[in-house]
């Protein structure tokens, strides 16, 4: 019998109990490698599996939890040795029974980027190796997972290299989240989207403490639910668990009405627990629960249910934005992150991400943008491209359940995009247009919406995951059709029961006072059933319209959200000490008054050359701060505040230059990198801000940077000054290697090194040209180097 049949035919499926606990009882030392025993002590494994089979397990997990290339390193066996041996032992124990053998796979043991250094693609590769080595199992179980991203890599590796059923269980703490902050809803939405066979929870807590976790999970899925709790909680000194087999079965019984289908035990359990569990389950009926899972998208930490209007921020898009285009061309991810954070502070619930621009590699930029954004923001993303390959790359790299923007009613679009939406478990925006363009009438657009829905259902995409965009046309050009859009929204919403999306800002193109037109149109569309306005949340009248709508329609109960935004005192930045009546730019910079400094810069630009503002005001103000810092009168947090303010001025100047075509203020290009292996890059980032303030273009390669990347970047961009940073004694050698490689490749450059553990002597010893003891000194060196 296979796993899927087992699920259909048995009321409950019983798993086994702990492996580690049993192996320790047999003599495995703490911190030893359990998987080595598959080869060294096969009898131990066969015996343990047999005990569980005799206790009533329908499935035993082979001893492969940590059999990945990273964890096996220290024991000398390979994945290809440890995994087949484990499955062989389990099979031997199962002889003469119907018991199935699961390939058991736990976390790799290293955190993924950006908190760790392992990439998503490397994680995928590590899992792929395990899946291929375990092809003889009956099913694949991923368990004790705490990072949804790592689990996604694992599931994709399994789906793409095996036909075996997949079970995923994650480990939640009492705060209903995993160690990396994954929410239960996000886990369920993402994994069900990826098409796994069963999901659930294991480890961390006992069956009693896991009740609320299981209760929540059962609300978010219609897949079979798996629960494999610990034998209660361990005592930190004795390591003994506090839940007896009898209590374990008793608490497990309480989980049955929630809809649990598959049960077993994790740490601290043994065959006695499984026996009691089997006895308890005997004669009991599985409780089938059907949930209407709502339309929703999610990041790992945050689920956005589309049960009320949700704002999709439109600003991450280069169309019509010179500064954004420049940032893309310069690979300036920080600019994109800044745009993201600004929109979220303004009220965006979801962010659209479009990085399409001629002259850049849209696919790699999209992956980079998605990875960087999800490392920083909690809101879900809507990946936006006209190119299916770009969409697929984004869907792969995304952590959670995203929205795809977009598919349209053309057959080729449907055939290219919908399979991706299905495979990666996303939601999708369907545009009501086809090869004949946008139909004028609401009825025709409705027809196209229906076609998209029907096709999506054929591909196995849930109805709730199809959002329709009835397309806004500009009122100045096609005034007579504005109401067609609004009416189409109403029909799609009411007759098809689908969620609706609309890019709002287009309506006013070519008109004066666009804001007035925009927020009135927005309100009209909302009252007709618009769920997802794609708009600029930074314009308060727009966000306010959505908030007012929610207040007036009784969604925002007791006007709590509205009042929190518009009631009482507005939050203001702390005033400068010894405030002047009239402040000037140097004063604003010295006192860290960002907004004032930016406004003053904009005003000055009307009469002063950009370069003069930089040379006569920004730099002297920074110099003054720098000198006081050196004297110990000013401390680092203050120096950085000053620098941050100057940065705001620079942003204004950059925008101005781009709009007028005036000569750039760049004083030279510098590469900065935190060396391979090192993930502490705050120091480097402080240096970056200061250098940028002095008018240097910084190419920031980030942290954990390969030696070769530095070399390639210097050659490609014709850069002659390179700054390297290391914060750990263990990564100093990477600094040395980077310098060495630059020299070997005869890169014509000077190298500055710095960081907590670097000394002047060390700098000289590894052949660097300069040692900078702090950020200020890096600037001094750059000025000397460029002679400006």
């Amino acid at each position: 019998m296979d796993f899927r049949t087992l699920l259909k035919t048995k009321e409950f499926v019983i798993l086994d109990g702990a492996m580690g606990t049993m192996l320790q009882a047999k003599g495995l030392e703490m911190g030893g490698t359990p998987e080595a025993l598959n080869i060294d002590k096969p009898d131990w494994l066969v015996d343990i599996h047999r005990q569980y089979i005799n206790a009533g397990s329908d499935i035993v997990y082979a001893n492969t939890f940590g059999a990945n290339r990273h964890k096996l390193e220290k024991c000398g066996y390979t994945v290809q040795q440890a995994i087949p041996a484990a499955i062989k032992n389990a099979r031997k124990a199962c002889e003469g029974t119907d018991t199935l053998v699961a390939l058991d796979i736990g976390p790799i043991g290293q955190l993924l980027e950006p908190t760790g250094t392992l990439t998503f693609e490397e994680a995928y590769d590590i899992y792929k190796e395990q899946i291929l080595a375990g092809a003889d199992a009956d099913l694949i179980v991923f368990e004790t997972m705490t990072d949804l991203y790592e689990l996604k890599a694992a599931v994709l590796a399994a789906k793409e290299h095996s036909d075996l059923p997949i079970v995923c269980t994650m480990t939640f703490e009492e705060n209903m989240r995993t160690f990396t902050g994954v929410a239960i809803s996000s886990m369920a939405l993402t994994l069900e989207g990826l098409g796994v066979d069963a999901i659930g929870v294991n480890c961390s807590l006992g069956p009693k403490e896991l009740y609320p976790v299981v209760e929540e999970l059962c609300k978010w899925t219609n897949l079979p639910v798996v629960v494999k709790p610990n034998a209660g909680l361990p005592d930190p000194v004795t390591n003994e668990y506090n839940c007896s087999p009898e209590d374990f079965a008793e608490f497990a019984e309480k989980l049955i009405p929630l809809g649990v289908k598959v049960l077993g035990g994790c740490c601290g359990t043994n065959p006695e627990y499984i026996k009691k569990l089997a006895e308890m389950l005997k004669g009991k009926k599985h409780v089938s629960v059907h949930n209407d899972i709502p339309a929703a998208c999610c990041s790992p930490t945050h689920t956005v249910v589309i049960d009320q209007p949700r704002i999709i921020g439109e600003r991450i898009n280069p169309t019509g934005k010179k500064r954004f285009k420049e940032a893309l061309l310069a690979n300036d991810i920080d600019y994109i992150l800044g745009q993201a954070i600004e929109q979220i502070h303004a009220g965006a619930d979801i962010l659209d991400v479009n990085v399409g621009l001629p002259g850049i590699d849209e696919k790699s930029m999209m992956v980079k943008a998605v990875k960087s954004l999800q490392g920083v923001v909690d809101v879900p993303l809507q990946v936006d491209s006209t190119i299916p390959e770009v969409l697929e790359a984004a869907l792969r790299a995304y952590n959670g359940k995203p929205i795809v923007n977009s598919v349209n009613a053309e057959d080729s679009s449907i055939e290219n995009v919908l399979p991706l939406v299905k495979k990666y478990g996303a939601a999708v925006v369907g545009l009501t247009l086809d090869e004949n363009g946008i139909p004028k009438s609401a009825d025709k657009r409705f027809e196209l919406a229906k076609k998209i829905l029907d096709k999506a259902l054929e591909y196995g995409i849930r109805k709730e995951d199809v959002y329709i965009d009835c397309l806004t046309l500009t009122a100045s050009a096609e005034q007579e059709n504005v109401m067609q859009t609004v009416n189409a929204v109403e029909r799609v919403k009411n007759e098809l029961g689908l969620k609706t999306v609309l890019g709002v800002s287009n309506i006013s193109f070519g008109l004066p006072s666009r804001e007035i037109v925009n927020h009135n149109f927005l309100m009209m569309a909302l009252t007709k059933g618009l769920d997802l306005p794609i708009m600029n949340p930074n314009i308060d009248s727009m966000t306010a319209t959505v908030r007012a709508y929610k207040l007036l329609t009784n969604i925002d109960k007791n006007s709590v959200d509205f009042i929190s935004h518009y009631g009482g005192e507005k939050k203001t930045a702390p005033a400068a000490t010894g405030a002047k009546a009239e402040i000037d730019l140097p004063y604003a910079i010295e006192n860290g008054l960002k907004k004032e400094a930016a406004d003053l810069t904009a005003k000055l630009l009307q009469e002063t050359e950009a370069m003069n503002i930089v040379n006569d005001m920004l730099i002297p103000a920074l110099d003054k701060a720098g000198a006081e810092f050196e004297k110990g009168k000013l401390f680092l947090p203050q120096l950085i505040q000053t620098a941050g303010t100057a940065q705001a001025c620079f942003e204004v100047i950059k925008n101005y230059i781009l709009s007028t075509g005036e000569k750039s203020v760049s004083k030279g290009k510098i590469i900065l990198a935190t060396v391979k292996g090192d993930i502490h890059d705050i120091g480097k980032n402080i240096v970056k801000v200061l250098l940028e303030n002095y008018g240097y273009d910084v190419i920031d390669l980030g942290k954990d940077v390969d030696y070769q990347t530095v070399v390639d970047c210097a050659i490609e961009n014709d850069v002659h000054l390179i700054g390297l940073s290391a914060l750990m004694t263990t990564t100093l050698v990477s600094m040395e290697n980077t310098v060495k490689l630059l020299r070997e490749n005869n890169v014509d450059c000077k190298i500055i090194v710095g960081g907590a553990v670097v000394t002047a002597d060390y700098a000289e010893q590894i052949g660097a040209d300069y040692y900078a003891k702090d950020a200020k000194e890096s600037v001094d060196i750059a000025r000397k180097f460029f002679g400006n």
């Binding site: 911190g31 908190t115 760790g116 705490t146 930190p236 947090p637 505040q641 090192d678 750990m728 907590a756």
Partner: protein, 223 residues
């Protein structure tokens, strides 16, 4: 477990301000960052007690594959029959918050980074006190971490495995033995029935002593 506040005084020292009082604007930023950090800090720790065997070139942790090599750890555990291995973290939500600050405002990022470092030390203090309560019959040494003195940081992975720290508190190490989440600590506390001399702590056995920013200013990191 929750932290109610962060030891701001300590954090201000990490910011390079010694015992100076922060100016008004910085103080406001510190206040804001502290509040935001406290929302995401999830303090967690795991510890276990082991018997130790003193060898010529290091200390064996009995019942585990862990060998703590070097003269400094020998000195640290001199006269100790047992040791506590512990790992503590304020969890990955903090890493995320710090990344967000770096994208938003470097001053906040720098301040929050120092506050987070102070917070993880507070969790270590909690471990210290917990050990004191649970093992009241022993005198405790201070906390000695892999990478201090001549104790190689390469013991990090086995150290974490022995504590099963990945499973219990979500703590991992990179290929270069850097702890992730970043604001985390692993350390060894010696347990002795005898009095422990006060002299066995401080800069002398710290491998950061030559480059330490605190020492350069004539200050001390607190150990």
């Amino acid at each position: 477990m929750k932290l109610e506040h962060i030891n701001v005084k300590e954090a201000v020292r990490y910011m390079g301000m010694g015992n100076n009082k922060p100016d008004e604007r910085t103080a406001l930023l510190i206040d804001e960052c502290e509040k935001e950090l406290l929302k995401v800090i999830e303090p967690k720790f795991v510890y276990r007690v082991f018997d130790v065997a003193h060898k010529e070139n290091g200390v064996e942790v009995i019942g585990t594959p862990l060998f703590l090599g070097g003269n400094d750890i020998c000195r640290h555990l001199e006269g100790c029959s047992k040791c506590v291995l512990f790992a503590a973290t304020i969890s990955s939500g903090v890493d995320r918050k710090l990344r967000a600050y770096e994208a938003e405002d470097m001053a906040k990022a720098m301040i929050a980074d120092c506050l987070a470092s102070a917070a993880v030390e507070q969790v270590c203090d909690i471990v210290d006190n917990t050990v004191k309560e649970k093992l009241s019959g022993y005198n405790q040494t201070w906390r000695f971490s892999p990478g201090y003195g001549d104790l190689p940081i390469s013991v990090q992975r086995v150290f974490l495995d022995v504590l099963n720290a990945q499973k219990f508190i979500g703590l991992n190490a990179t290929e270069n033995n850097i702890l992730t989440p970043r604001k985390s600590v692993t350390a060894i506390i010696g347990l002795s029935k005898n009095e422990i001399s006060k002299g066995r702590r401080g800069c002398a056995c710290c491998n950061m002593r030559e480059v330490c920013q605190f020492r350069k200013r004539g200050d001390h990191c607190g150990f």
